[in-house]
Symmetry: C2
Subunit: 368 residues, 2 copies
């Protein structure tokens, strides 16, 4: 991919908790990327895969020694209670002070885990995200949702805790596995579906070069998604309203991930199925045109993402896991549904029967 | 004690997170005390001792069944990582939704634990405090500091998370053990020392009836302390300034508690020693008059509280535990010190030698 893109800076506007997102190529090896952190006590967590590729240049840029780094196993299973305890023990053993900074180098798993640890270590310390996957760059590194999984539900334990700085190095995207890249594309498609019809059309036209890792187009994707997320988060940090739209497809997706055991499905793969299911229910409600739903599902399929849940998953499995969704309010499940491509809404205005029709349709498809 | 005091309501003014503190006799059995919680899904945690005395009337007032209650062992050792996990598992097993409320019935240990669980369950749910000890009523139930202990330091893991409601039933104070009552008195003396010379004088004159559980005087103590705390918290919720003054004596106290193993010393007992040590260092700095220091230490002693640390504790033990204090900034320890009775300051303006003089003085006394 092209390596000489200009660095672009977006700002997440949250008063005293505002922070910059720097997006560009080869940022992670550049000490200037981290100027806010200069002179502060730092500790870094990462995973073994990311460490093999990027730890050396990041440590050089941040002047970190081996004792300042904790590397964890890659994969969703690392977002666990046991790993939070391990990181906390390590920080206390190494006596990171309250004015220190925890740096997360990796994908969504490392970012969510590090952010949660930073939220509860000494009642909250600063943290910095260096996302190295498309999914983390377009979505999870921005906005301050942190947390871990529980056997009973995805992201059931966590906190809202904003980073102080996000460094998105586009060069890292060229080394992603195909599966990781596609997982990120599911979140990209989600942004277009929920809030930007023009972007959706642009994705339809540019999907092939994107999947071929065209640097300029990937840069545009990261910038557009981050800009949309920054705007939504600034308006509704704690998800009392509009921010919930970013969960399009996620209630279905979390049920799939919880059912399958964390790490079997990548998050974006489950989101891809969830987007298709949300479209289906939206059509049943008469809110979304059948033709628009087909465009959405076709884009998901063209991206090489799954469109149906695991073969062994039943309607009852979905019900069981969706019952604990964080958007349940007054005992009623709320879902993000589509009015049109580019317009999503939070709604509890669906009958249990219509939801069952959608669940049956998707569970039957795979059961055949 | 007098049972027919009027209910007094104080407000902690924090914008959308403001909440009332209701103070009065026989509040916990009265459904009207909890009117904000009506109709919401509730779970309650308490400890075995408190449960034996107050669980039945609280459950009746809140219409809770056995399945809605989790009772834990009493004592500081319950403020642990393992107990947080146990409570989270229990909440998820019983599917408390995000719009539910966690109720803490008990002293500072239950309140700090429940508050922390509420802070991280589904990224934060509402919680309510029903403090049943003097220490919890005058201090820990108000202000949103939640957390647990770690082998390496007291309250090292936690969050700022405000309750939505605090119900202080003064009738519970009459059933406290002597030791628990005195532990609370240490925090009361702390308030007077750090910010209210008139209150200090009042305490000197009213100590004996207070220790004899005079209801009107205890009510006045709870109200004055809560009013002072509410004002300080409203001005500085996240402890970036003035709120740190509430930690007068606490850096020394936390070192004692960490050293001794949680539960050997009650928190207030350790705070009592810390207050004496802060006075000593303040005199050495020339900030506090020797006569004023002696008045403070005399009041602590008259209350039947300890004035010297555990016999086996050395200067090095203090250094080791104080190094991890949350108020360390730029590598430098800051302490709350006294300018006069009623006026405390946060300061790093002491030499290591002066601090060592104070530590040696207190460790030597007991070593004799």
């Amino acid at each position: 991919m092209t390596q000489h893109l200009n660095t672009r800076v977006l700002n997440v506007d949250l008063g005293t908790r505002s922070y910059p997102i720097r997006i560009g190529a080869r940022l992670l090896a550049d000490p200037a990327s981290y100027r806010e952190l200069h002179g502060r006590p730092l500790k870094l967590i990462t995973d073994h895969n990311v460490a093999a590729q990027y730890l050396a240049p990041v440590c050089a840029a941040l002047k970190l020694s081996d004792a300042d780094v904790l590397s964890l196993p890659p994969g969703e299973a690392t977002k666990s209670w046991a790993k939070v305890e391990q990181v906390l023990d390590w920080l206390l053993e190494h006596r990171l002070p309250r004015d220190g900074v925890l740096v997360a180098l990796g994908g969504g798993v490392i970012g969510d885990l590090a952010g949660f640890v930073a939220a509860i270590y000494q009642r909250g310390i600063d943290f910095t995200q260096i996302p190295t996957t498309l999914l983390a760059q377009v979505d999870s590194s921005v906005g301050g949702k942190t947390g871990i999984n529980h056997a009973r539900g995805k992201n059931m334990i966590g906190a809202f805790h904003q980073p102080r700085l996000v460094i998105s190095d586009l060069a890292t995207l060229s080394s992603l596995s195909r599966r990781e890249l596609l997982s990120g594309m599911a979140e990209v498609i989600k942004y277009a579906m929920l809030g930007d019809a023009d972007f959706f059309g642009w994705l339809e036209h540019n999907l092939d070069p994107l999947l071929a890792l065209d640097g300029n187009r990937l840069a545009e994707v990261v910038e557009r998604c981050c800009a949309m997320k920054a705007q939504i988060v600034a308006a509704d940090e704690r998800e009392s309203g509009r921010r919930a739209l970013l969960n399009l497809g996620h209630t279905f997706a979390h049920a799939i991930e919880t059912h399958s055991g964390y790490g079997q499905w990548l998050h974006g793969e489950a989101v891809a199925v969830g987007l298709c299911m949300a479209c289906n229910l939206s059509v049943r409600l008469g809110w979304l045109g059948e033709d628009e739903a087909q465009r959405c599902i076709a884009l998901v399929r063209r991206a090489g993402l799954p469109t149906t849940p695991p073969a062994d998953m039943t309607v009852d499995d979905f019900h069981e896991h969706m019952q604990l969704d964080k958007k349940v309010q007054g005992g009623k499940l709320r879902l993000i549904l589509m009015r049109s491509i580019g317009e999503a809404v939070v709604s509890a205005d669906f009958t249990p029967e219509l939801l069952d029709d959608t669940l049956s349709r998707f569970c039957r498809i795979e059961a055949k």
